[in-house]
Structure formats: C-alpha cells, structure tokens
C-alpha cells in the first residue's frame, strides 16, 4: 500500500493557534481537514510537506451553517454530510443538496469539508461550482486577527491554486440572500457514482415580483482551468421572462464559452454538449423551484 513520506503531525486547537503554527512553519506546512484529497496525493508522493496541521478539532469553531436575513454563512470546517443533511440550507439554496448527493460517497462525505474542497481548487470540484453559482465570497483569516473577504473569482487563482497565503486559513463562505424569489439547482454527469464530474453545472435564479429574472448565474465544473461563472449568461437572462428559448440561449453561451479538453472522461465536444444540456436543465429546475 502506498504511504506518505515522513512528516511531523501537529494538531491545531483553535483557528488562531493554527495560524500561529502556519506563521512559524511557513510553506513547509499544510493544513489537513478531511484529508481525502491531500492524503492520497501525499501517498502517491505528488505532494510532500514537512508538517501537517490537523484542523479537525476546529470543527467546533468552524463547523456551522448560519442563516441570516441577507446572508448565509457557512464555516469552512462544515462537513459534506452536514451540508447534505441541513434542511434549512436546502430550503434557501437547494443547489447544495443537489450537489452533495453526488459528491464522492457517503463515507468520504463524513470527513470532507467545504473549506477543504474549495482549497483543493480542483477544476472538477463540485462545491466550487456551487459557490461560484451562488456568488459566494470567501473569508480568509491571517495573523493578528486580520481578515479579508474575496470573491470566488479572486479565490481561485488557477488550477489547484487559491488566494489563501501560507499563513492564512479559509474560515467561512458567505452567500448573499437576495430579496427575490430564488431557486437553484445542480446537475452532474459522471461515469460512475463517486467519480469526478465529466461536466457539472449549477444554476441560480432570482425572480422579481413580476416573475421576471432579476438575476441569474450559472457555474460549470470540469470544462476549463477553473470552475467558471459565466457573466454573459447572467447578462442575457436579466430582465427576461423565464422561457425555454432563454435556457437554450444560456446553454449555447455555456457551450461556446467553456474550454473543455478531451480525456478519459469524455471528448471535448461531448463536454461542450453537456455544458449546454446541463445549463438548460439546471436553469429549468431553478426557475421551477423559484416559482414554487
């Protein structure tokens, strides 16, 4: 069995103490939460660190889903299972439950965390697509109680690369709750349960009192270097009456603007087709949820 190279294990007891450790150890250290992305990479010796800082004990501090009037705040240590099981979250943003049903498998979901998923910054990662769709922002804490808030676009610097510095921790995700009737949905095509997405798409819709689209966002995964939001779709949908022709237009934009590559999961052409198909499907579902 593959085993990681030697490292020192440290266990963090609080966010501040973890940041202190990171400050002291610099880029020789890495935080580990669920570990289901990091540890396999370390076993394959694709990633080596001198120190691993276990932040699972921070679940008390960072494991929460708080629904406020204008905002939903989710702690970075909130586990997939908690996101899946939260009825309150599903009520506001059903896209989370849609996505969590198809992320990895139930056992992995017991360990994996929201923060860990985002920080892995895999272009195929589902929660990044969800957060992009919902226009989430990321709260990053650094030494001496400094805190900065960045958008998802700023957070993902590139594949497997985030805006979180060596001495910082992603602590929270904030999702705006807009004063409209909202609906959201997620769809993923995978070769088999638990596989990474061939393509997945998220959609969120906000309807005004007249039933017109006040705002709309679509996020895709696995069709480009990073999980991508598509402003052109938002622009095309805003102010419009929801209609099948509109979803088709959005799908066409998604297919045109994404940048997939051919690999063992599928051909670039197929993935482009899925970007179209899944954009239409999720918009349709999101609208029907917004109306109900």
């Amino acid at each position: 069995m593959q085993v990681p190279a030697p490292f020192e294990y440290e266990r963090a007891t609080s966010v501040d103490q973890a940041i202190g450790l990171l400050e002291r150890l610099g880029n020789s250290a890495r935080l580990v939460a669920g570990g289901h992305s990091l540890l396999p990479m370390m076993k394959l010796r694709l990633a080596n660190f001198e120190y691993l800082i276990d932040i699972n004990d921070l679940h008390g501090e960072l494991g929460y889903i708080r629904l406020g009037a204008g905002e939903v705040r989710i702690g970075a240590m909130t586990r997939h299972r908690e996101l899946l099981e939260s009825d309150a979250l599903a009520e506001v943003f059903p896209i989370f439950r849609d996505a969590e049903r198809v992320i990895a498998d139930p056992i992995v979901r017991n360990r994996g965390t929201l923060g860990g998923s985002l920080c892995q910054a895999d272009p195929s990662e589902d929660l990044s697509a969800v957060c992009t769709t919902l226009d989430a922002s990321c709260v990053i804490r650094g030494p001496r109680n400094t805190e900065r808030v960045v958008s998802m676009e700023e957070f993902h610097v590139g594949p497997y690369e985030t805006a979180v510095a060596d001495n910082e921790i992603l602590t929270e995700i904030r999702i705006p709750v807009k004063p409209y009737a909202s609906g959201s949905a997620y769809a993923k095509v995978e070769r088999r349960a638990g596989d990474w997405a061939v393509v997945s798409a998220g959609a969120a819709i906000w309807l005004d009192a007249a039933g017109r689209i006040a705002d709309a966002r679509v996020g895709l995964a696995a069709v480009g270097p990073n999980t991508t939001g598509i402003p052109e779709i938002s622009a095309a949908l805003r102010g419009q009456e929801p209609a099948e022709a509109l979803y088709e237009l959005a799908g066409a934009i998604a297919a045109r603007t994404c940048d997939p590559v051919t690999d063992t999961r599928g051909s670039a052409d197929y993935k482009r087709h899925l970007a179209d198909e899944l954009t239409r499907r999720t918009l349709r579902t999101a609208v029907s949820r917004a109306r109900s």
Binding site: V32, H36, K43, L52, D54, D105, P106, G194
Partner: protein, 156 residues
Amino acid sequence: MQVTVTVNGVEYTKEIEGRLLLVHFLRDVLGLTGTHWGCDTSNCGTCVVWMDGEPVKSCTVLAAMAGGREVRTVEGLANGAELDPIQEGFRQCHGLQCGFCTPGMLMTCRHLLDKNPDPTEGEIREAISGQICRCTGYSSIVRSVRWAAVHEAASK
C-alpha cells in the same frame, strides 16, 4: 509521537510516526487484521471503521488524527459468540463471498441501521456506494441489511 486511541472499548497508547495511517495502526501495531485495505485512493472502502461513531476510510485517516477518539472495527461487532444482527444477516443472505470487503461493508451497514432502522433498497445502495464488492453484485448485501433490519425490529 505518542498517540492514545480507544479501539473497541480498549485504550491503547503507542509510539508512532506522524504519517502512520490508521489502517496500519490497527493492523500492524494492534494486530487487528479484520480491517482490510484495497486501494490507496479512498475509492474501495474495504478499510471502513468507525471513528467517534461515524464510518471513515481508515486508509485516508492518520493514526494521529484518531488520537483521543474512539474507533470501532469489525472485531468489535459481535458480542462474544453472538453475532451482531448485521453479521447474521450477511450470513443468512450470502452477503459475502471472498470476505475481503465484508468488514468495511458490515461497519457501514451497522451504522446505517443505527441511523435508519428500516432502510429501503435505495437507501442501502446509497449507503454502500463508496465501497466496492467484486463478488456479490450487491443484491445479497442489500438483502442482508434488510434481514438485519427486519430481525432487529422483531426482537425489539
């Protein structure tokens, strides 16, 4: 480093390397070889044990992470000579063949029944979907869990 882990109700304190995987701690350090491993990438689920009451893939958990926590393995299922109902269900319904994935399956299914004493076929399939069995084709595992559910309900 030193780690103290409670396994099947017994507390163990051992000197280990920080990188030691929980599955190796159980198998090689404690000699509890009932827990198996079948891949390196947390895809197969043969290594599932409970940590603080929840199933985890022990090939992707460091032994150090289990420090101060309670681990339950397949060796902790039976009550002496008496099999746990989930074990008896697997026996009655041919839920195992080579027996290699079985310990992980049993731990997951026991947990499922604790949370949901009357699971549907779909719920059972979902619960074990992070685990691979090459022998049974899963139908008899589903039946085994149903057997345990029905017999547990009857004995209450």
